[in-house]
């Protein structure tokens, strides 16, 4: 089990003093159809990108709030990551990208009839955002536009 008190001192101090934001969200929303018929999208914060896409920037003050669109037919073996955070062990994701971006698992769940389908577009963010205002104002709205356009029924967020 992960606990802030087990983290390295610099991360522990950051996590304890960071001003967390809690956003308002509309209550009473739920899947409109059974899960076995629903289109599911994934949002990962492991900083993954395809070889053709520009890597996330690690030197922006406040963090890189952009995101990469990972299409359904993405080959997980080809994904790269530049996540610079020393706050977590990267070995698991390097060994198996499904650990944070479970596209193979969604495809299997679809074949097993447990979800309707994997959405045509999934999203990758980097996390590590010290000033998430831009994320909230711009990127999150764009992300929501994409999922709405793709008629996504539900979203799984997988922070690392």
């Amino acid at each position: 089990m992960a606990k802030i008190s087990d983290m390295k001192m610099k991360y522990r101090i950051f996590m304890k003093t960071y001003k967390y934001r809690s956003l308002e969200w509309k209550s009473g929303v739920s899947l409109k159809k059974p899960l076995k018929d629903s289109r599911i999208a994934v949002v990962s914060t492991a900083g993954l990108h395809t070889p053709e896409q520009p890597p996330f920037k690690t030197d922006l003050p406040g963090g890189d709030f952009s995101f990469r669109v990972l299409p359904e037919d993405t080959d997980l073996g080809n994904l790269a990551t530049v996540h610079p955070s020393g706050s977590f062990d990267h070995s698991g994701i390097e060994a198996d990208a499904n650990l944070s971006f479970p596209l193979d698992r969604l495809r299997e769940l679809k074949n097993e009839g447990r979800i309707g389908e994997s959405a045509p577009r999934h999203l990758s963010f980097m996390g590590l955002m010290l000033s998430p205002e831009k994320l909230v104002e711009d990127s999150a709205e764009e992300a929501a536009d994409i999922f709405q356009e793709d008629q996504v029924d539900g979203v799984l967020l997988v922070p690392v």
Binding site: M1, A2, K3, I4, M7, M15, Y20, R21, S22, L23, W25, K26, S27, G28, V29, S30, L31, P34, L35, S38, I40, S87, F88, D89, H90, S91, G92, I93, A95, D96, N98, L99, S100, P102, D104, R105, L106, E108, L109, R114, I115, V136, A140, E141, A143, A144, F147, Q148, V152, D153, G154, V155, L156, L157, V158, P159, V160
Partner: protein, 73 residues
Amino acid sequence: MLENRGIPAVSITLLKEVTEKVKPPRSLFVPYPLGFPLGRPNDPELQKKIIIESLSMLSEEVTESLVSDFIDK
């Protein structure tokens, strides 16, 4: 953000302390180290169990932040 557009979302969480501050609509707390949100690399069965348990929370209409604990039976 997504809920405001009528799309339900669920988050895996590794740090309950953070989830309790951010208060997202739905989260599944998993007892794994940071960097291992879906349990273990190359363990498809465990990964699928975590995914299905979190996605099943999407069917719940929530009015306040709902946190569920994943137990690997």
